[in-house]
């Protein structure tokens, strides 16, 4: 079994370090209205991740969207253990940033490439938001 290893360089949106398996979507995510905070399951009908669980994952998505209630929902998910461990976003957005700040979820964005294309589902991610780096290990 071989492993590919590469690093994406972006900028810190919210500080911290985290690691875990990637779950990737090209779409935006609404944390109030599109995700069940009790379980971590994406509920938005027709969403690329509908029915999938983002708990404990490194969530790679285009940006946040929808209800401004999403920030406290993220905080609630952290408190009940259903939150992703980190956000990697193509574009930063206020509701997900604010939720990540009070929930202590590290967030990196501002990459040269689109992270939702560069990263694949189940890639192992080690993220250092303060350094702005996302280290990806992909086993073939």
């Amino acid at each position: 079994m071989t492993a590919d290893h590469f690093i994406l360089a972006g900028r810190k949106i919210v500080k911290g370090k985290a690691s875990g398996q990637a779950i990737v979507t090209r779409e935006a995510i609404s944390f109030n209205g599109g995700v069940d905070n009790m379980t971590g399951i994406v509920t938005e009908p027709g969403h690329e991740l509908e029915g999938q669980n983002i708990s404990g994952k490194v969530l790679v998505f285009s940006t946040g969207k929808g209800s401004t209630g999403g920030s406290y929902k993220i905080y609630d998910m952290v408190s009940r253990g259903t939150a992703p461990v980190a956000f990697i976003q193509t574009t930063p957005e206020a509701i997900t940033t604010i939720g990540a700040i009070i929930g202590n979820i590290p967030v990196v964005s501002g990459f040269e490439q689109d992270p939702t294309l560069a990263i694949l589902n189940d890639d192992f991610i080690e993220l250092d938001a303060d350094a702005g780096t996302v280290s990806i290990t992909r086993t073939q």
Binding site: T43, H47, S62, T68, S71, Y72, Y75, D76, V78, I98
Partner: protein, 413 residues
């Protein structure tokens, strides 16, 4: 980010722990968006007012801020909660939410908020000025305030609203800056918009395209009603992450196409014609059967005019016995509607007027099975967009006449 001496002192704890925590949030937020400095604000509309959103964790967060001496230094209005205190049990809201919501509402009130608990602050006394820097949550109200009033706010979550209310500051990024307020893409409206539902349909169409970008509409009638732009704002904000729109000749920062785009070319041009309108209507109208049980009017909260139209449809009639009709509104609207006799007409017909909450911000995942609801029927694009994902009910979507007919008939036609 540059901080004044006073702001540095606030961050260091000179004004206590609550203000210190608030400044930490604002500095982190500002730095994440590259803000150069903070700007003073005196107007906060607080998202995160509902325990559906805050839950126990968020409620404790707000209570802790209050215990640490938190006091609001700005005007603050609040968004809907999870509970109508006058009738929560009757309408299927769980008691645990009533208990938790009382704590959260008390915490906001105790720090100085006007707990109006509505998503239409601009209709109940919080009227933004043109150019006013503000901190508003409630995605539908953000779009309304920026677009229709020409005020300046970003999409603010509950915690950032709280931080701004405690400090009177917000980071100067996003929609506080003129250069970020221009349109990015053009939507030519080439089909009639007959009522607020059609405006909501347009908003859903535009929001799905927009992402965070600002749409510019041409072809809108010269004088849409308040209710129509309210519906457009709400739908835009739900299906995308839009903070504002321009409607040429209608909204204050778009006297001309050139002004709306900042003299740049639109990045893309789309047409909203009858075919596109029907596609969106089909998207929002997923329920295949004609089964109707829960009907909701008032997303965003109903104005007095909307309540009047519901009353007119029900005058001298009875809602079908299998139907539960919620008209969701603000206390201030209710008070006027009651004086005009509309509340009595709706209640005599069997309808329920709900204040301070709505299906989106109450725990509808519990209410719906409690009451045996299997579908949601509404004239609101925002509500139709969210209902299936937020609380698992497929939707019937149509204009008020069609929805009220369903209320009387008991089936969807």
């Amino acid at each position: 980010m540059f901080l004044t001496d006073e702001e540095t002192g606030m961050l260091n704890g000179d004004q206590g722990d609550a203000v210190k925590k608030a400044m930490e949030i604002l500095v982190a937020l500002g730095e994440s968006f590259g803000a150069k400095r903070l700007v003073p604000i005196n107007n906060v509309h607080m998202a995160g007012s509902s325990v559906l959103v805050a839950e126990e964790a968020g409620t404790r967060f707000v209570e802790d801020i209050r215990t640490q001496g938190g006091t609001f230094v700005t005007n603050v209005t609040t968004n809907p909660t999870a509970v109508d205190p006058t009738q929560w049990k009757k309408i299927g809201i769980p008691e645990s939410d009533s208990v938790l919501q009382t704590r959260l509402t008390d915490a906001y009130a105790g720090m100085g908020a006007n707990t109006c608990n509505t998503c239409i602050p601009y209709l109940v006394g919080n009227t933004p000025r043109f150019g006013e820097h503000m901190v508003w949550g409630e995605s539908s109200a953000v779009v309304y305030a920026n677009s229709v009033c020409g005020a300046r706010t970003n999409r603010e979550g509950g915690p950032s609203g709280l931080a701004s209310a405690l400090t009177g500051r917000t980071p100067e990024y996003g929609f506080h800056l003129t250069e970020n307020r221009y349109g990015k893409f053009l939507i030519k409206v080439e089909t009639p918009l007959n009522d607020m539902t059609d405006y909501g349909t347009l908003g859903c169409f535009a929001g799905k395209i927009a992402g965070q970008d600002t749409p510019v509409f041409t072809g809108l009638p010269a004088s849409p009603t308040l209710e129509q732009v309210k519906a457009l704002s709400a739908a835009l904000a739900s299906s995308g992450a839009v903070s504002m729109f321009h409607a040429v000749g209608v909204t204050p920062e778009a006297p001309t196409l050139e002004a709306a785009f900042g003299r740049k070319e639109p990045e893309q041009v789309f047409v909203f014609d009858l075919a596109e309108k029907q596609k969106v209507e089909a998207f929002l109208n997923k329920e295949a059967t004609d089964h109707v049980d829960w009907i909701q009017i008032g997303c965003p909260n109903a104005s007095v005019q909307e309540i009047r139209e519901v009353a007119q449809a029900l005058e001298g009639k009875k809602i079908h016995r299998d139907i539960t009709l919620w008209v969701t509104t603000a206390g201030a609207m209710y008070a006027m509607a009651e004086r005009m006799g509309y509340i009595k007409t709706i209640e005599d017909a069997g309808g329920v007027i709900v204040r301070e909450t709505c299906p989106f911000l109450a725990r509808s995942r519990v209410i719906a099975p409690n009451k045996g609801f299997k579908t949601l029927t509404t004239n609101s694009a925002k509500m139709a967009f969210y209902a299936p994902g937020q609380f698992g009910l497929p939707t019937h979507y149509g204009n008020l006449d069609r929805v009220m007919q369903a209320a009387l008939d008991g089936v969807w036609r």
